[in-house]
């Protein structure tokens, strides 16, 4: 089985993109570390290559950085790919992919709501699960909740 073209292309076309070691990824989906500035272009390129279905978008707090993870799939060829973007924890900003995949809308809002990742270019980046007056971002590892009357 030959390597699909896009795997090499990603590394070639987008400098700074690196494949993540397969030991860490247990699900066997090829994964790439992408520079934050290029994510929109990479997703656009992949969409043109047939990765038309955004399976999942979520973010993780790794204490020193945030990581936003995109799981994309091509429904035709059934190929899957994972994109990982490390962003600055102090200034967590990343381009929104909602214009390309409208389905990312609420998932980005969720990541903003729970982790405070700001997606620039998002049409309506407001809290979605928590109430709009909530303080802090609960899924951050350093989040501590103020005790309320139930504690």
């Amino acid at each position: 089985m030959t390597e699909p073209r896009y795997l090499n292309d990603i590394k070639g076309k987008f400098p700074g993109t690196e494949a993540v070691l397969p030991e860490k990824i247990k699900d066997g989906i090829p994964a790439f570390d992408c520079p934050p500035s290029l994510i929109l272009d990479i997703v656009k390129y992949l969409k043109a290559e047939g990765f038309n279905y955004l399976m999942n978008l979520c973010a993780t707090d790794y204490k020193d950085t945030f990581e936003v993870i995109y799981h994309l799939s091509a429904l035709e060829s059934k190929a899957k790919i994972t994109l990982k973007v490390k962003i600055n924890r102090e200034k967590p900003e990343l381009a929104s992919i909602t214009p390309l995949h409208p389905g990312a809308n609420w998932q980005e809002r969720e990541a903003f709501d729970l982790l405070g990742v700001v997606f620039t270019g998002h049409p309506n980046l407001t809290r979605i699960l928590l109430s709009c007056d909530w303080e802090g971002y609960p899924l951050r590892k350093d989040y501590s909740r103020k005790p309320d009357q139930y504690d």
Binding site: K26, D27, N56, C58, G103, E110, L129, P138
Partner: protein, 373 residues
């Protein structure tokens, strides 16, 4: 926020209607902010989060096995399927192979739960369109499956049946025979369903051509499951990205072309039949054997991450699980099908009538426990 000053097409004032969070048919605590021009929707915005329990945060403070127990509460209609995906993800991180019989039992339970979900959809969808009797019919058959579940797991709603490395208990003696009887009964009842609802003129009038979702929208909005297949995309994770031992079973992936409410409803009725087929095959293939693999008492998966997809009755139910080598998950993210399928409302609601809002919402099949987590 929605603009309350929107004008209708003749320049008159519109009416802002809060549908929910307390409303008989928003399937829980969903709030829809509707701007109405008479009975026609000008714009709509779903507002969610009323049932948010912070499950992703809770998961980080629970052991892996306890997370399976918590997963019962995501989509409380299809607990078995939730158990399934979490158990699969943990096993993927651990690298455990589970015994054959455990695989079969898992598929048996997951498919029975799919039957339950689709029966409930039948009832609730008809109820949303005003046919009250169908709801009771649906619940009647659901009871049968719940009795089966109760005989295996001891619970009727939150089963907590799956374990890391297998399942909790083996089947009771008469389970196979009872399930066989249930399949026979269900096949008969599906005919009743068709007579009462599917072939009803008013039902068709209310659902055919309502809330059409195009193929392009399906892909753009990442819709999955029956909603996707009703629009003509033949994609089922059980077949196309197979997991567990689904490839051993012979079943079809029904699709429909129009992507309207009726197709979404009918697709579930077709899937119901396929699920019964799978259950029948499992019952034949079941052989005595181990139901648990050898797993350590304290589950500490090595550091790593996995994204595991399964086909829940509502769509693609996936878990993104990150382990840092401790007893608790480092990150637990649930890709909830209801949550993502719900997004399409904003796109397809403008222009339909108030009554269609309910029909569309019902046909997309959401459970707020999963939307809000």
């Amino acid at each position: 926020m929605i603009d309350n000053k929107l004008k209708d097409k003749d320049g008159f004032e519109t009416m802002y209607l809060n549908m929910g969070p307390q409303h008989p048919s928003t399937h829980g605590v969903l709030r829809l902010g509707l701007v109405l021009d008479g009975e026609v929707i000008v714009s709509a915005e779903p507002d969610i989060g009323y049932l948010h329990r912070g499950m992703e945060k809770l998961a980080e403070h629970r052991t892996y096995q306890a997370n399976i127990a918590m997963s019962d509460r995501f989509d409380y209609v299809t607990s078995m399927n939730n158990n399934f995906v979490v158990a699969l993800a943990i096993e993927k991180l651990l690298g455990v192979e589970i015994p054959k019989r455990a695989h079969y039992l898992r598929i048996l339970m997951a498919e029975l739960n799919r039957v339950v979900n689709h029966i409930l959809l039948f009832g609730f969808f008809a109820m949303d369109l005003g046919a009250t009797t169908a709801l009771i019919f649906g619940f009647r058959e659901r009871e049968e499956v719940l009795d089966l579940f109760e005989s295996v797991t001891g619970a009727r709603l939150t089963y907590n049946y799956f374990r890391v490395g297998g399942v909790a208990r083996d089947l009771p003696e008469d389970f196979i025979q009872k399930t066989g009887a249930f399949i026979k009964l269900m096949r008969k009842r599906i005919k009743d369903y068709d007579d009462l609802v599917t072939n009803n003129v008013i039902f068709r009038d209310r659902s055919v051509g309502i809330g059409k979702i195009s193929k392009e929208d399906i892909l753009a909005y990442s819709l999955s499951g029956p909603v996707m297949r009703a629009s003509g995309i033949k994609y089922d994770i059980r077949k196309d990205d197979t997991y567990s031992v689904y490839k051993e079973f012979d079943f079809n992936i029904p699709t429909r072309e129009d992507g309207d409410c009726f197709d979404r409803y009918l697709l579930r009725m077709l899937e119901l039949r396929e699920s019964l087929k799978i259950i029948e095959q499992v019952l034949v293939k079941l052989e005595p054997g181990e139901i648990m693999a050898k797993v350590p008492k304290v589950i500490k998966p090595p550091a790593g991450e996995a994204y595991i997809r399964t086909e829940s009755p509502k769509g693609e139910l996936s878990v993104y699980l990150v382990s840092d080598g401790t007893v608790n998950p480092y990150r637990f993210h649930l890709r909830a099908p209801s949550f993502i399928n719900l997004q399409i409302l904003q796109k397809i609601l403008p222009g339909v009538k108030v009554a269609d809002v309910i029909a569309i919402l019902g046909s997309i099949d959401i459970v707020l426990g999963e939307v809000d987590r």
